[in-house]
């Protein structure tokens, strides 16, 4: 029925590995490996192994966050090696077994991770053909590989696994190793069904939240009553009546309970009598945007600067300006973060759904004053995280508690922990200015972004902060200045990011960080200018773009949505339907997307209904079309939720959006129809699909509402100005 089951049967039959080293997939979950497997980025052995049964194990530093890349990466390797898809197993994100291919973020799993795997497979393929040629005493060029078997003239056949004997390839990845011609692809480009879905719909799949080890206890952490509150005292007798309590663990302001059962740990967490100091250091929420404006600027990052925007603006015939703000968001994983930590002497193994186990290893080692080599982090699939949520923080909690009790500890955060303490998408403010010259051209474009300093680095671990320990954390909002520069050719442009010294809540990246906020401002402001000029938004964009792929993606979304024949909004009706367009060439260097949103606005109540989204999408070579569609749909629906429903609420002490009632998200009846046109370019490099569409959703909604009402939406959620 499923590839998963076939694989399980195959795995059972597999013997020792022969191409490379004595490791098999079963090492993926073991507490400690018996020998050292290569994990360097340059070695083929780091990425691939073929065993005596012909089974291929892929070692991927990029992990499947619920996006389907386990399947897509397996397709890439099976294709390039010409082995049966069912013979490929993928091990992901294990610091002892997989190469550090970078954190799984930024829509880069296929674009970077997949391309690295493809090159390793191409190198292995060439080496295997050379070995076969020597064995068969023919020229390598006369040989091909078909379903894991080398085939020569006269139908001479040799199974891959019979080739190598008990030796390692020990070769370096060669960037010049020839890749297969995409015209001959059998797997890449096909909507292969996802490997994980049968297990996920039958309860057989092991999520991080399901993972257990023998002798494991359950931990919960009691968080401070205010973000910066100090622990004054606690009374252990208050939980004396709960059976199965193992220990109450305190380290400065870190306070946890460990129990033999999960329910006992939860009850103890709820019942423990604790006194915290008063703390009210957050800005008043109604003054958030003044607070952002008044925060100290550490430096300015100029992300583009052509011509002389100041002079052009001053001499322009018309000047336009607008301000856009974007609310604080939480990741909102449906499954709260979870981890299991186990010490073996002075070695720690931590199982986590972290999107960056290699970085987590460094952070845990720093927190515990261990060497990196003493910590092993192993990825286990969790609930979708959409960025750096709290998986890493749960890992820190589990490690601190496991060390304190000398036994393995599992920590799963409660709902209020996840909403209250995961790092947040920071509040983002943009000031925009444009000048129109006497010929009607946009002669000047300026933007100022107010955003915390930092990049996608280490986000401090909550437990470490509370315990007074260093976890290498620093301000890390993500790559938030991307897409502040614009894709349009305008003579005088200056885009500046004012990097702020602080932000009310510890920041981290949430899907399309910065790019979404910057695209919201850019694409909305572009429509304001077009409206001022009386020019159609599509025609206006085409006028300032010269790139053929940009034009194609816009033309295709226009056709898909019947843009040019769309009905004109009835500005006198009680409900008015508007249409909004938005475009990106993501980060100015990759995936092209054009979207059109159809939204209905109730002129009396102000209620906005997002009805339909049309998406034309060009991410170059498509590995798995249905996987890309699934991602695009998720991009649209999740971001409609963020724009229409979400805004973190807080008091001056703490987050008050602590559950789904106080932080509502989109529900089924409000989900729009999504219509997609995928542009496949098999001979181009593959780019990401996990983020680019999301970046456009806020502006497309804003532009549709503007079109419906002839006014602009310049805040999120739906603040009409």
């Amino acid at each position: 029925m499923s590839a998963l089951i076939e694989r399980r049967a195959l795995l059972k039959a597999s013997g020792a590995l022969i191409i490379t080293f004595a490791f098999g997939p079963h090492f993926g979950r073991a507490a400690s490996p018996k020998a050292t497997k290569p994990v360097g980025l340059d070695s083929v052995d780091s990425y691939l192994a073929i065993d005596s049964g012909g089974l291929v194990t892929v070692y991927s530093g990029k992990v499947d966050l619920g996006t389907g890349v386990r399947t897509a990466l397996s397709q890439i390797v099976a294709e390039e090696l010409d082995v049966p898809f069912a013979s490929v197993t993928l091990i992901q994100g294990d610091t002892d077994l997989t190469p550090d291919q970078g954190v799984t973020y930024g829509s880069l799993s296929i674009q970077n991770g997949g391309v690295q795997l493809r090159q390793a497979a191409a190198t292995a393929r060439r080496a295997l053909l050379q070995l076969a040629a020597a064995r068969m005493k023919v020229a390598p060029e006369t040989l091909t590989i078909d379903s894991g078997t080398v085939v020569g003239a006269g139908q001479r056949r040799l199974a891959l696994q019979a080739l190598i004997g008990n030796q390692t390839l020990s070769i370096e990845v060669d960037k010049a190793a020839p890749l297969k011609n995409p015209d001959n692809y059998k797997l890449v480009g096909q909507s292969v069904q996802r490997l994980d879905i049968p297990g996920k719909v039958t309860g057989q799949f092991t999520f991080m939240q399901d993972f257990k080890v023998p002798g494991m206890y359950h931990g919960r952490v009691i968080r401070p009553a205010g973000v910066g509150a100090k622990l004054i005292s606690f009374d252990e007798t208050s939980i004396a009546g709960i059976p199965g309590i193992v220990k109450v663990v305190r380290q400065e302001n870190f306070l946890g309970v460990v129990a033999k059962t999960e329910w006992a740990a939860i009850k103890a967490m709820r019942q423990l009598s604790v006194v915290w100091s008063d703390w009210a250091g957050l800005p008043a929420s109604i003054e958030l945007w003044q607070h952002v404006r008044q925060t100290q600027v550490i430096k300015d990052d100029v992300t583009s600067n052509t011509g002389d925007s100041v002079r052009a603006l001053a001499s322009s015939q018309h000047q336009l300006q607008a301000t856009y703000d974007f609310a604080i968001h939480t990741h909102g994983s449906i499954g709260p973060s979870c981890a299991v930590a186990q010490f073996d002497g002075d070695r720690l193994t931590c199982w986590s759904a972290s999107q960056g186990t290699h970085n987590l290893r460094k952070q845990l080692a720093a927190m515990l004053s261990l060497k990196d080599e003493q910590v092993r982090c192993v990825y286990v699939d969790g609930a979708g995280c959409y960025g750096r949520n709290a998986h890493e923080d749960a890992a820190a909690d589990a490690a601190l508690l496991a060390r304190a009790v000398g036994a393995p500890v599992r920590v799963q955060w409660m709902r209020e922990d996840e909403h209250g303490w995961d790092p947040k998408g920071p509040p983002t403010l943009l000031d925009m200015r444009a000048g129109i010259d006497s010929s009607g051209k946009i002669s000047a474009w300026e933007s100022e972004l107010f955003i915390p300093d930092g990049a996608a680095g280490f986000v401090a671990l909550v437990g470490a902060d509370h315990a007074g320990l260093d976890s290498l954390g620093k301000l890390s909002p993500g790559g938030v200045i991307q897409d502040l520069a614009i894709p349009y050719t305008i003579e005088n442009v200056k885009t500046v990011a004012h990097r702020l010294a602080s932000t009310p809540f510890k920041p981290a990246w949430i899907r399309s960080p910065g790019r979404m906020q910057n695209s919201f401002a850019n694409e909305s402001f572009f429509d304001e200018i077009a409206a001022h000029q009386g020019v159609d938004p599509l025609a206006a964009r085409l006028e300032y773009l010269s790139d053929a792929r940009a034009k194609e993606v816009l033309e295709r979304v226009a056709t898909l949505s019947a843009w040019r024949t769309r009905p004109k909004p009835d500005w006198h009706a009680s409900k008015s339907t508007g249409w909004g367009l938005a475009y990106t060439k993501y980060e100015l260097v990759r995936t092209y997307v054009g979207v059109v949103c159809e939204a209905e606005v109730n002129r009396k109540s102000g209620e906005i209904a997002v009805k339909r989204f049309f998406v034309a999408h060009d991410c170059g070579q498509i590995i798995n079309p249905d996987g890309v569609r699934n991602q695009i749909e998720g991009n649209v629906v999740q971001t409609v939720s963020r724009v229409m429903k979400e805004e973190l609420r807080f008091s001056q002490s703490k987050v008050t959006s602590v559950d789904w009632a106080s932080y509502p998200i989109l529900q089924f009846p409000d989900v729009p129809i999504v219509v997609i046109d995928l542009i496949d370019r098999p001979h181009e490099v593959p780019w990401g699909a996990g983020e680019p569409t999301a970046a456009l959703v806020p502006a497309a909604i804003s532009n549709a509402v503007f079109n419906a009402l002839s006014m602009f939406v310049s805040g999120s959620p739906q603040v009409i100005v």
């Binding site: 998963l4 879905i197 719909v201 399901d210 449906i334 499954g335 709902r415 699934n630 629906v637 089924f668």
Partner: protein, 156 residues
């Protein structure tokens, strides 16, 4: 320690628990190793923990084990990889999963619903699933999968 007689997925089991208020979810997951039902909120707000009690979809994260009387069915009891329930089949056919953490709730809610309303409209399905939250944005496929299962059932 109080013992409760339960029937889970067709098997009689005795639950020895020290607290009758403990939600059913913890017994199913930690004592029986049934990982279909999942902890999402502990508040009955998201649906990830949904199981059937006497055929009705309930939130096992807030349902005290001491109050459980009758037959409990989890995702594992609905169907197996070798013998899929039509909804499980439809979710695979439609590839109606992203991370999959919410999917237990979607399938269990829909299964109880289709017993009551075998031929729903799409709007009825959306309304029925309103309390079930999905963060990945898989809603469109989930509705399609439920409609597909309903059609498959009505043909059978």
């Amino acid at each position: 320690m109080p013992a409760y007689q339960l029937n889970v997925n067709g098997k009689d089991v005795i639950a020895d628990v020290d607290d009758p208020v403990m939600p059913l979810l913890y017994f199913l997951r930690n004592e029986m190793g049934l990982h279909g039902p999942r902890f999402g909120c502990g508040l009955g707000q998201c649906g990830a923990c949904t199981v059937h009690l006497n055929g009705a979809a309930i939130r096992s994260c807030v349902y005290p084990i001491g109050n459980v009387q009758g037959k409990v069915v989890t995702l594992e009891g609905l169907g197996t990889p070798e013998n899929l329930h039509p909804l499980q089949h439809a979710f695979i056919d439609e590839q109606a999963v992203q991370c999959g953490y919410c999917i237990n709730g979607m399938i269990m809610q829909a299964a109880a619903f289709l017993k009551r309303i075998p031929k729903p409209t799409e709007d009825q399905v959306r309304e029925e699933l309103r309390p079930n939250l999905c963060r990945c944005g898989t809603h469109i496929r989930i509705v399609r999968a439920v409609m597909r299962a309903a059609q498959a059932e009505s043909r059978a």
